[in-house]
Symmetry: C2
Subunit: 125 residues, 2 copies
């Protein structure tokens, strides 16, 4: 029993394995819709835990990114957070303030759907 | 109008951007549960489209990985496939044959949940 507890005390994101960044899948806590995928480093993970609002590492700007923390106010409130079996992927169930996660103004970033002709099409909300 | 069509003809996964591998989020098409996250290269993406069963690139074994294609038979049948706004993340809605996606024998790979004490706990199906 104590052995099992010790094992679980060691469960944490393995940022070392992948050069410091892990993918974070973001899911609407109510609807189950996948809203986006972004990346976290140790600092953004810690800030997410401390604030209860999702922080990422912006690979393009190379800086900590408090999603919605600027003028839009479209922050992502953490409702639940999971790690996968290999400790190298994160799943976050959120409440998306303002209802829009994508920088294109759409609810979800995953708006290109593969058709039966094997071409992608824009799917609007 | 023709301009819009041309734009959409160019919508495809941008494997060049990230060294050849893109993260693929795998979601149960019926329940919306997130089952796993793995990686695809161009070849595995093409094999997925051709066969209708999900293929990945195994980073540990460095080889094409037909999920469930071995003795387990637990293949993942593609029900829908999406790309995100930046064309560098894939979302696949699947039917999981046999109901088990994780190599640990669990339905989903995301079975460690963060508790209010900021520690992760194993959540069984």
């Amino acid at each position: 029993m104590s052995g099992k507890v010790i094992e679980l005390e060691n469960i944490k994101p393995d940022f070392e394995k992948t050069g410091g960044l892990l993918p974070a899948v973001v899911q609407d806590a109510k609807t189950g819709e996948i809203l986006m995928l972004a990346y976290m480093n140790y600092e953004s993970f810690q800030q997410t835990l401390i604030t209860g609002e999702v922080h990422y590492w912006s690979r393009s700007r190379r800086e900590l990114w408090h999603k919605g923390g600027g003028s839009s106010g479209r922050v992502q409130k953490v409702k639940a957070l999971y790690l996968d079996c290999d400790l190298d992927a994160i799943l976050i169930k959120i409440e998306q303030v303002g209802g829009i996660s994508c920088h294109t103004g759409r609810r979800s970033c995953f708006h290109y759907q593969l058709g039966i002709d094997q071409k992608f099409r824009l799917v609007e909300d």
